[in-house]
């Protein structure tokens, strides 16, 4: 079980306080999943940071009764001087897992070859994404946090990610945020729309899609102080 209760987040801007999330509520059971639709600037990334615990909410609470991953395939925490292997070791130490049995999987999945033992600063963007995804799969979680916009790559990579995440780990819960209704339709059993700081739940994915399509025609949310 995982629950977000009355969560709000306000940021200081030069224009005054700006409320990015306003009284967001939802719960997610073990093995369930939720798709969150929102257009650019709707607060999707903020929500991801709050759920992962990188930032604290201004008010409200987030209760985690299951283990939740860091944002899937997040490359931001890589140190350029560290090799792929160093990064695997770092993650494993942080989560208390022996890295040795995981090396073959990561080497095979990332197809980095010699580069697995080279500093990340020599990697292409694609190599970095493959490594980040493999590290996300190396540690087992009850619930995966997926920001669709960061899982980019070629078709083959997409298929392999899909296989690891939604086939091999189909018993796990996940939260997926995206601006693409098609992805939600394919992968999620429930959908909500993040609109003007509020998370609006819908009974079916189709209803969420319809509301989202309609919301896209409204004028963009202006940065008015809360």
């Amino acid at each position: 079980m995982f629950s977000v209760e009355h969560v709000s987040k306000t940021y200081n801007t030069r224009m005054g306080l700006r409320r990015v999330l306003d009284d967001v509520n939802f719960t997610l059971g073990r093995g369930r999943n939720l798709g969150i639709l929102g257009r650019n600037g709707a607060g999707k990334s903020t929500l991801i940071r709050l759920i992962s615990g990188a930032e604290a909410p201004t008010s409200g609470s987030i209760r985690r009764h299951m283990s939740i991953s860091w944002p899937l395939a997040f490359v931001g925490a890589f140190q350029p001087n560290l090799t792929g292997l160093d990064n695997l070791k770092f993650i494993c130490r942080v989560y208390g897992v022996d890295h040795r049995p995981l090396v073959p999987f990561v080497e095979e999945f990332t197809e980095l070859g010699l580069y697995f033992r080279e500093p990340v600063s020599h990697y292409s963007h694609g190599m970095m994404t493959r490594l980040a995804f493999a590290l996300s799969m190396a540690i087992e979680f009850d619930c995966f946090l997926i920001d669709e916009s960061i899982v980019a790559g070629d078709m083959r990579f997409h298929e392999r990610c899909h296989n690891e995440l939604f086939v091999k780990r189909k018993d796990r819960a996940f939260i997926l945020v995206t601006h693409d209704p098609q992805i939600i339709k394919t992968l999620c059993e429930n959908a909500s729309v993040l609109h003007e700081g509020r998370l609006i739940p819908f009974a079916t994915v189709d209803e969420a899609q319809a509301f989202y399509a309609q919301s896209l025609t409204m004028p963009a949310d202006t940065a008015e102080p809360a």
Binding site: M1, R49, G53, A54, A56, A77, L82, F90, V94
Partner: protein, 262 residues
């Protein structure tokens, strides 16, 4: 379902995270080229040797009974241990913010990790240099090693508590670092590294003894040189200062952790 972990579990996680951060920091800062991790000790050593050379040329021991090299090594090492920890922690949270996506990594781990590394480097530098200079006969062996350790521990505690406070304060305003650099520069000549309190006129003695690190440096030299020198310190005063700084640091950090924005 009860998910609140025990204290032992938490300490276990923290120990692992600290180890992970230390390994990461060492490779990030020093790489694997040439000396690698040895730079951790080599860098402060080079500083200390440089200062010892300058002070020898300038006759900074003012004709006291202490050999000048021993005076410089004890004094400058004492500065390094508190100043470097504090300086390295100013930007620590900002530079490691993305690691907070991993729920096990907390802001205090980031600050502690850097502090441990700086204290280890300064300690290594002091040990290696003093062994070398003792071997050359330019420095005596410590008269009372336990007092030396006490002084060093107190200086390290002072450095760690200052680092905690400044590192946490940076989450509120970058002014902290702007002010810290001139403060560190101005505190150096007042820190007791380049003088003994005994050499000061009485009125000045009372002023410099307001600074906690002066006490630590005096304890260190008391232990090293024994009764050849006359030292002035108050262990209780220094411990109180460190305790207050530590508590203040922890309180500010608790607030800072809630304030960190990306």
């Amino acid at each position: 379902m009860n998910t609140s972990p025990s204290l032992a579990n938490c300490l276990g996680v923290q120990r692992r995270v600290l180890f992970a951060l230390l390994m990461r920091e060492v490779i990030t800062r020093f790489g694997r080229e040439n000396l690698g991790v040895l730079w951790l000790v080599a860098e402060p050593m080079i500083f200390t040797v440089g200062v010892a050379t300058l002070w020898t040329a300038a006759g900074m021991n003012h004709g006291s009974a202490i050999p000048i090299v021993a005076f410089a090594v004890t004094g400058y090492s004492a500065v390094l241990v508190w100043r470097n920890s504090a300086s390295r922690c100013c930007s620590a949270i900002e530079q490691n913010k993305t690691l907070l996506y991993h729920r096990n990594v907390l802001t205090i781990d980031v600050l502690l990790g850097r502090t441990i590394l700086e204290i280890a480097g300064a300690t290594g530098s002091l040990v290696v240099l003093s062994l070398f200079f003792v071997y050359l006969g330019w420095m005596p062996l410590p008269v009372d090693p336990l007092t030396v350790v006490l002084g060093w521990v107190m200086l390290s505690w002072f450095g760690a508590s200052l680092a905690l406070l400044l590192g946490a304060g940076m989450a509120f305003s970058p002014i902290v670092e702007r002010l810290w650099h001139p403060a560190a520069y101005l505190l150096f000549p007042l820190s007791g590294a380049a003088f003994m309190v005994e050499w000061m006129p009485l009125r000045l003695q009372n002023v410099v003894l307001l600074l906690p690190m002066v006490h630590g440096t005096e304890i260190l030299r008391q232990g090293w040189f024994g009764n050849v020198v006359r030292t002035h310190y108050d262990l209780g005063y220094m411990a109180t200062c460190c305790l207050v700084l530590s508590l203040a640091g922890l309180i500010v950090l608790r607030e800072a952790a809630r304030k960190i924005d990306f």
